[in-house]
């Protein structure tokens, strides 16, 4: 079946049509053949009928001859001699006619077919000559004559029967049978005539003859009856028309006389004439029937002939027409199918320009129409699509591409959140850079943020997003509570954890009346946050510097200078100790460093130099940390670094100090008077501060202020010297209130600074307090304690030498490091400051009474020349 479905349409047509055509041809062949046979049949029947007619004619004549011969014999040669001769020549003429018919060429087919029967008939006819000779010699009896003739006639009639009884036409066959019955009836009538003639001629009738006669009549009657039953109306009409009248009635009357067998006084010739008349009538009927049969067979054959040809012609015409129509339809159909096929092929190759043209209005035509409509529609759709494509191109180039470029290059992370907090497929490229991941599209935002932020912020974020999508909540209100507005994220890239500061902002995107998305923008603020931190640090630095300046301005410059000088020295001593004591106990070294730094810090606190105290404090903390663990040499590096840092700070402050001094010098704003006032003022303030702190009321007097002719720098240094002296006096020199009262001194202590009139470019400054002066044994004890001298040396040392010990580096009369006299600070600083000024000094004292120091200070005169003086070594 599948094979049939797959065949091309024209083969399918062939498969359907060829068997149909073959069937039609076969049917027509049968029809034509049938008609041909009918025609042949009729032709042959016509020939045999003609032959039968001749045979019948001969039989008819022989029947007459038989009756005459029997009459002749019965009358013993007296009667019928003439009639017999006459009859014989008529019979021969009839026989000749039969032979003539038989010799006709068209009859040859029949003679071949019925050869045996015809031969038999011919031999019988030829035996007639011998019979006639015997009759002439009167050697035959009547009954013998009857038998001979009857046999000939029987064979003749049988031959007729065989010849004509082979038609296929039922009607004709029936009439042929009717004819045969009629012929048989006629034969019986002829024999009746012969027997009647014999009986009447001999005037007697034996029983045998009688029964023969009776059965003859009965037989004759039954043949007539059979004929009448099957004969057609015309034959019946001929019969009733011909067999009537006087002669027929006479035959019936004479037959009854013979039947009675009483009188035979009827002339045999009368009987013969009457019966012959009747037989002639029968012959007439027979001829009419034969005639009609002949004409019918002729009709039949001609109609069969006509039918045959008309069938042939009609068949040809119909066949030709069928073929023609079929070829038109099929070729048209196939052509249309072919056109459609070509068209669809063209369409499949993308040629939409042409249309298919099939003029027929059948299904294919409809298909073609539909195709055209479809093509039109597809073309229209194509146009629309083309326009849409152009639009899309336009959109792509002008909007989408731009947005994509923006999304690719913008430094902000941008994406959309849907109501399930899923991140949009489209997001700006910066997202990947900011978060260091590629898995962004479709991720749940809180899952996305989980590893990056602390759990509390994550919980807040989830809550926040829920409120963000709640239409009842005001967007600004919700956004105020954005927990990741600025957040520190930790992300790991290739195992390195980095910290970033990001800012995340949320903006609602509304649909008709609900929030469909939230746009999220992420900016990496790490740089700006770090910058902010740097700024803060710079700010701190600046603040520190400002503080330094402020400290310097706030605090007495000489105090600072002293502090800085001392601190620098001390720090240097630490470094030196490190250098020399490399192998010593690190722990001890650390303790030493701590102690030293601690005292420096205390000094800074005392003078209110917060910036330095803070610095020392941080060094302390560093050391504190080191103390807690096993110390290694490496650890000292950090301490040294910090110490170095502090040292730099000291240098910074020194330069700052110098700058401030420069400012004062460059812009004296009132010249030396201003700096003098400042000097006096700062010394007075120092005394006040120190006396308040020590709870020792001290009066300060600065005399001959007008003699101060020093440069700004010198004034500053002088001030430092004075400040150190004041500090020493208040701390060590001036006694507590109780001691002073006991000794009968004034409760209030006294410090005097007096400027001599300057001469020879030298200014003499006299410093004096009314304290306890110097205690030589105390100084010696301290010096021994500090390791400056040995016990032995101390005992041997003169008082004058001993007092000079106070100028030694590392000497401090105070056990405690406090805000007023630092370790190693004090007179050694005074000494070095004096030496820096290239000045000389002279110390004087009286135990329990006073301490005095006279400084001879060289100064630049107006010409700027410095008097070089030898420093005295006291």
């Amino acid at each position: 079946m599948k094979i049939l479905y797959d065949l091309p349409i024209r083969i399918k047509f062939a498969v359907v049509l060829i068997p149909l055509i073959v069937i039609i041809i076969c049917f027509d062949y049968l029809q034509i053949r049938h008609n041909y046979l009918d025609y042949n049949d009729s032709e042959r029947l016509n020939i045999t009928l003609k032959l039968g007619v001749e045979i019948n004619q001969a039989v008819h004549e022989l029947q007459k001859e038989r009756s005459i011969a029997i009459g002749y014999t019965s009358s013993e040669g007296i009667k019928f001699l003439e009639e017999l001769k006459k009859q014989r020549s008529i019979s021969d003429a009839a026989l000749n006619k039969f032979y003539t018919e038989l010799g006709k060429p068209e009859t040859s087919e029949v003679t071949i077919r019925h050869n045996d029967e015809l031969k038999l008939l011919q031999s019988k006819f030829e035996s007639l000559k011998g019979i006639r000779g015997k009759i002439d010699k009167r050697s035959l009896q009547s009954s013998q004559i009857l038998n001979y003739y009857s046999e000939i006639n029987n064979i003749a009639l049988n031959t007729v029967d065989l010849l004509i009884n082979e038609t296929r036409d039922k009607e004709i066959a029936q009439q042929v049978h009717a004819l045969i019955y009629f012929l048989k009836a006629k034969e019986e009538a002829s024999i009746e005539r012969a027997i009647g003639t014999q009986a009447l001629s001999s005037k007697e009738m034996n029983d045998e003859l009688y029964s023969a006669f009776t059965s003859l009549v009965a037989k004759e009657q039954s043949y007539i009856d059979a004929f009448l039953v099957i004969a057609d109306a015309e034959s019946q009409g001929s019969y009733s028309r011909e067999i009537s009248g006087h002669d027929v009635e006479e035959v019936d009357r004479l037959r009854n006389i013979i039947h009675l067998r009483t009188t035979f006084d009827v002339e045999p010739s009368y009987w013969y004439d009457m019966t012959t008349s009747k037989i002639n009538s029968l012959k007439k009927v027979e001829d009419q029937i034969s005639e009609r049969l002949l004409s019918r067979t002729v009709d039949l054959s001609s109609s069969a002939f006509r039918k045959f040809w008309s069938f042939v012609i009609v068949d040809i015409v119909i066949g030709a027409m069928a073929m023609w129509l079929m070829s038109i339809i099929v070729s048209n159909l196939l052509a249309n199918v072919k056109t459609l096929e070509k068209f669809t092929l063209r369409i499949s190759q993308g040629d939409w320009s042409s249309k298919v043209s099939i003029p027929t209005k059948d299904e294919i035509g409809q298909y073609a129409k539909t195709f055209n409509v479809m093509v039109d529609e597809i073309n229209a759709s194509h146009d629309i699509l083309r326009k849409e494509r152009d639009k899309a191109k336009f959109l792509y180039h002008n909007i989408y591409r731009v947005s994509m470029l923006v999304f690719k290059n913008i430094h902000q992370g941008i994406f959309l959140l849907d109501r399930n907090f899923k991140m949009s497929k489209l997001y700006s490229k910066a997202m990947e850079k900011i978060f260091g991941v590629n898995k962004i599209a479709g991720e749940n935002f809180s899952n996305f943020m989980r590893p990056l932020i602390i759990p509390r912020d994550l919980e807040a974020l989830e809550m926040f997003m829920r409120h963000l999508f709640n239409e009842d909540m005001d967007e600004d209100v919700v956004n105020q509570l954005n927990p990741i507005e600025q957040v520190k994220i930790f992300n790991e890239i290739n195992g390195v954890v980095t910290t970033k500061y990001i800012r995340v902002n949320f903006t609602r995107i509304w649909g008709k009346n609900r929030i469909v998305n939230v746009m999220v923008t992420v900016s990496d603020e790490t740089e700006s946050v770090l910058l902010q931190k740097h700024l803060e640090e710079a700010e701190k630095q600046k603040k520190q510097e400002t503080e330094q300046v402020l400290s310097i301005l706030k605090i007495d410059p000489s105090v600072i200078r002293g502090f800085l000088y001392n601190s620098k020295k001390t720090l240097k001593s630490i470094s030196e100790r490190y250098e020399s004591d490399k192998e010593s106990d690190l722990k001890m070294l650390l303790d030493f460093t701590f102690q030293t730094i601690h005292s420096l810090k205390a000094n800074a606190v005392v003078i209110g130099l917060e910036i330095m105290s803070e610095k020392f404090h941080s060094i302390e903390e560093t050391i504190e940390k080191l103390k807690a663990k096993e110390v290694t040499g490496k650890d000292f590096l950090t301490v040294l670094y910090e110490i170095d840092d502090a040292d730099k700070m000291i240098d910074d402050m020194n330069s700052m100090l110098r700058k401030v001094a420069d400012v004062y010098r460059k812009y004296p704003s009132g010249g030396s008077v201003a700096s003098n006032i400042m000097l006096v003022d700062s010394l007075e303030r120092s005394v006040k501060v120190l006396s308040d702190k020590m709870d020792k009321p001290v009066d300060f007097f600065f005399k001959n202020e007008e003699n101060l002719v020093l440069s700004g720098e010198q004034v500053e240094q002088c001030k430092d010297i004075m400040l150190q002296l004041i500090r020493n006096s208040i701390k060590h020199g001036i006694e507590d209130r109780e001691v002073r009262l006991k000794q009968g001194k004034l409760l209030r202590g006294n410090i005097n600074v007096e400027l001599e009139h300057p001469k020879k470019n030298t200014l003499q400054i006299v410093y004096k307090d009314d304290g306890k002066g110097l205690d030589v044994s105390e100084i010696k004890d301290k010096a021994v304690k500090k390791g400056l001298i040995t016990d032995y040396e101390a005992k041997k040392m003169t008082d004058k030498k001993a007092v000079n010990l106070i100028f030694e580096n590392g000497f401090s009369t105070s056990d405690k490091v406090d805000e007023h006299a630092g370790r190693g600070q004090g007179m050694s600083l005074v000494k070095s400051l004096i030496e820096e000024l290239k000045a000389k000094f002279k110390m004087d004292y009286e135990a329990g009474k006073y301490f005095k120091l006279v400084i001879s200070l060289p100064f630049k005169d107006d010409a700027g020349k410095i008097e070089e003086n030898e420093a005295i070594d006291s």
Partner: protein, 125 residues
Amino acid sequence: MRLLIVDDSSIMRRIIEKNLKDYDIEIIGMAADGDEAVKLVKGEMPDVITLDITMPGMDGLACLDQIMAIHPAAKVMIITALSDKLTGLRALDKGARGFLYKPVNAKDLANAFDRLLKRNKPTIE
């Protein structure tokens, strides 16, 4: 519109009151703690409530729960010095509809109340 101010600081209460002087709203009471606030809400059924989070005794969130149970239609604005956003978000969860950080000024308050009451902002440039 009737307003109840809840804040444990009398200064803050005064500041809010003063800043709302020119705003079209009637202050029907002030409460210094949660219990007092709940009492006032029961008695007065105010339309609008400003609520502090950190208060002695019952804190703002617990107070908000009770207020919403008594008077669900009340429009509650949280005014707090707490910078913790999670607490603020929890307040929104519980039914607060406005939020403001301390310190407050008249303009911020007016804007926040406009949003809370869905009043059209006067077009001031």
